[in-house]
Assembly symmetry: C3
Homo-oligomer: 338 residues x 3
């Protein structure tokens, strides 16, 4: 297989790629899984910038590059490297010692690709929605940028999700993908639910989103999901109880996030959220599904988001899902870089 149209592209959001292209990446990922060791990226380097912690992402990208013959440099930003300024045109007399413009340009001189993980600060959604950090690397860098989870998206997770679904269900069409909100002691970002909805709808699944009232996802994301569904002649609906959502689901994908009306005002939000502890994936609810598989991007809080008996049960596919991070990322790297 050759993927001439993939070379040199960024991987920021699955929406930037056609369904056919994503299918080709999944095919290549399956191929990677069969034959993990290649020299396709010999002498190539990937610089991984972590503005936030990571377990799977860190490990799978490093080992993936090694397995393709290349290398990685891992940098913990703000810890091993100083803070970066993102705003343009400012007088830099504050905390940031370097502008992201310099970082993007210099890393582009050293490496062949840059991976960026930057969570939102959870202060001001309107501003954070601009995804300024990863967009600055796209703007100022001159090599492909890989999104390792930004304010808005986690496309590598979504690709691993899709590969896992394809492996377990055999395909996407006519299958019901439930994304359900779940309780969590802390307000979390929306990158994972955004990307899961976008990818599942893009691949043609019938998508259901279940969340408590007040926990709406961003309207622009929902609009794109609706458009994906329309193009695929599949469905998208939102329901406000877990029970409705679980009905006949093939996939139960659990994730928590904060209520948008209280964005940045999380002490207030905590009151609302604390009454939603029953939004938990239980065995009883799983019985409403069509022998549904349980998925979660991990890390997951056991017996808060999901009961032990579900995640440890035969229908849990969370470890395959985590493993598939490795295979899809290798496919993405090879397609973009080789």
């Amino acid at each position: 297989m050759t993927y001439t149209n993939f070379k040199g592209r960024h991987f920021i959001n699955t929406q930037d790629w056609t369904r056919e292209e994503l299918e080709q990446l999944l095919e290549l990922a399956i191929d990677m899984k069969r034959q993990p060791f290649r020299k396709s990226l010999a002498n190539k380097s990937l610089i991984l910038l972590f503005f936030n912690p990571s377990l799977r992402t860190r490990t799978s990208f490093q080992l993936g590059m090694y397995q393709l013959g290349g290398t990685t440099v891992v940098l913990n930003m703000g810890l091993e490297v100083w803070n970066l300024e993102v705003e343009e045109g400012v007088v830099m007399d504050g905390k940031a010692a370097e502008h992201i413009k310099e970082a993007a340009r210099v890393f582009s001189r050293y490496g062949d690709m840059i991976g960026v993980r930057k969570f939102p600060d959870l202060v001001d959604w309107k501003k954070e929605k601009q995804d300024a950090v990863i967009q600055a690397f796209v703007k100022w860098g001159s090599v492909p940028i890989i999104n390792m989870e930004s304010h808005l998206y986690h496309p590598c997770q979504a690709m691993a999700d899709m590969l896992t679904i394809q492996e377990h269900l055999g395909g996407f069409k006519g299958r019901k993908f439930l994304l359900t909100w779940a309780y969590h002691p802390k307000p979390l970002p929306t990158s994972v639910p955004n990307s899961a909805l976008l990818a599942a709808s893009k691949m043609g699944m019938d998508v259901v989103l279940a969340h408590p009232k007040g926990y709406d996802l961003d309207e622009d994301i929902l609009k794109a999901v609706r458009e994906n569904a329309a193009l695929n002649q599949s469905s998208f609906q939102i329901v406000y109880t877990m029970e409705e959502g679980f009905q006949n689901a093939d996939i139960v994908y659990a994730k928590s996030w904060g209520a948008p009306a209280f964005y940045g005002n999380w002490d207030e939000e905590a009151k609302l959220r604390s009454e939603l502890k029953d939004w938990r994936v239980t065995q009883k609810r799983m019985q409403l599904t069509r022998n549904g598989k349980f998925m979660h991007c991990l890390p997951v809080r056991r017996n808060v988001v999901v009961d032990d008996e579900v995640i440890d049960g035969p229908n849990s596919i969370v470890y395959d899902e985590a493993e598939n991070r490795l295979h899809v990322q290798k496919a993405i790297l090879e397609a973009i870089l080789s």
Copy 2:
């Protein structure tokens, strides 16, 4: 040489291995020292999890894998990666974002072997003695686990110690191994003394343990040391002054640890310990030995644990001991993985 019975095993405690097996590992280590560069672990990966700082361990495992053709991923837990929950069945609404069960299973999907360093918290010995973190990786992981120092054991250090003794004394039988307590401003864990005693007695040395009254090591460890000595028809005794211990010693191995009666109550223990500052390895005491060699696992506090003139003197073999970490670890990795 082939070591078919080593393949796929964990390396948690030297007691899990027979004396003959440990001797084979030492032979392989000598071979590694002669021929450092191999491709025996090409395409293999070792994931190194550090819950605590490290200098020698970190460096020697990384370079060891490189020299065998493989690769490493290093993760600083709690810093680059979030905290892990160890208890089973709990409702995870506290500080830990992920359960160690997921971590162990996911790392097992990515890498071929997992190294774990986790010191005790020095709060509750009865609980910490369970060595819960490393045991959880053994329980939930599906790849070999290497102990890079746990609550109870530091077997890679002990193997380096044995290689060093073999090189400098030519063998173990009939040689007197003194493990002596030494003063230190802080209460330290017992993993190093435990493993040193277990390994020296297992290899057939005559073992003497010297410590102040009140600084007993765990009774289960001492029992195993006595059993080792009985099997080897060698001796094990405990003495309560340095002077007695140093008499005719071939090896003086110094290490500090906290008094068990005050475990977790260290402010009280500090009073007792502060009167023991004379427990220091001096040149005068070394003259009581049989041209004894000075050993320490490092890091060591100079002029507190040992005088400059001893550690800098001709009978100090601490650098050979540190170097041998590299060679024995490579032997362990190759034996288990290739």
Copy 3:
């Protein structure tokens, strides 16, 4: 080319090398730039010790060793590794858990070369001027030591600067190198200006140093610069306004540092410095030059040290300068180690 006289040497300060040797390193660096991938350092290892943060240094040394077929181990001192004691003969009952003597000797057993980054603490110049940490590695280690920026010098930066100047100006003789002080909200060390002046004067440039009264560099550095200039029959002068300095400059190299009379007493110094905010590289000042190129080691505070329009303008060569770190460092590593 063979560089038999380079093998096994330390790289601490460009002054330790002859002009001819530095020219040979620059030639080798140009060669590296043309042919980046070699196996000249296969099986070799470089241990990188960071006592301070880094972006370019960390990335370029790691990728450089990879491109030469070798490997690196990166250690964040004080974070992943405990604090090291530097003083000799002390009773180590304080904060430091290990003496630098042990660290230097042990790393020398594991790796083929050690890189050290250690900034001054900015407390006591007389003491810090001894450059104790890097000198301890030279003294106690038994492998070549690479200075990745010490209290006194940043020679890898200086070599990248010289390569960049050679590429953009075609040579050094008769070219005017201006090192100009610039305002910065914090007092900074002098390693970069020291090494820039030493290298530019050594290579035969006409050197001008511009700084406000009270911002003198160390007299021993200035003496060496004067000697370099005398040997090369080139010039060295100090001026006290930016305007004088910029006249006919071919290179404008900007950098900030603290006033030596207030060393360690920085709150007092801040008053003096706060009146020097006009010491900023502006387009208007650049027009005084001979089509001068703008250089900075980075990180740089935009619109504080230099205006956006200068650093983003056609005469800014800061990205070439950053990229050249990679090429000169590879040349140094190969020359010393292969």
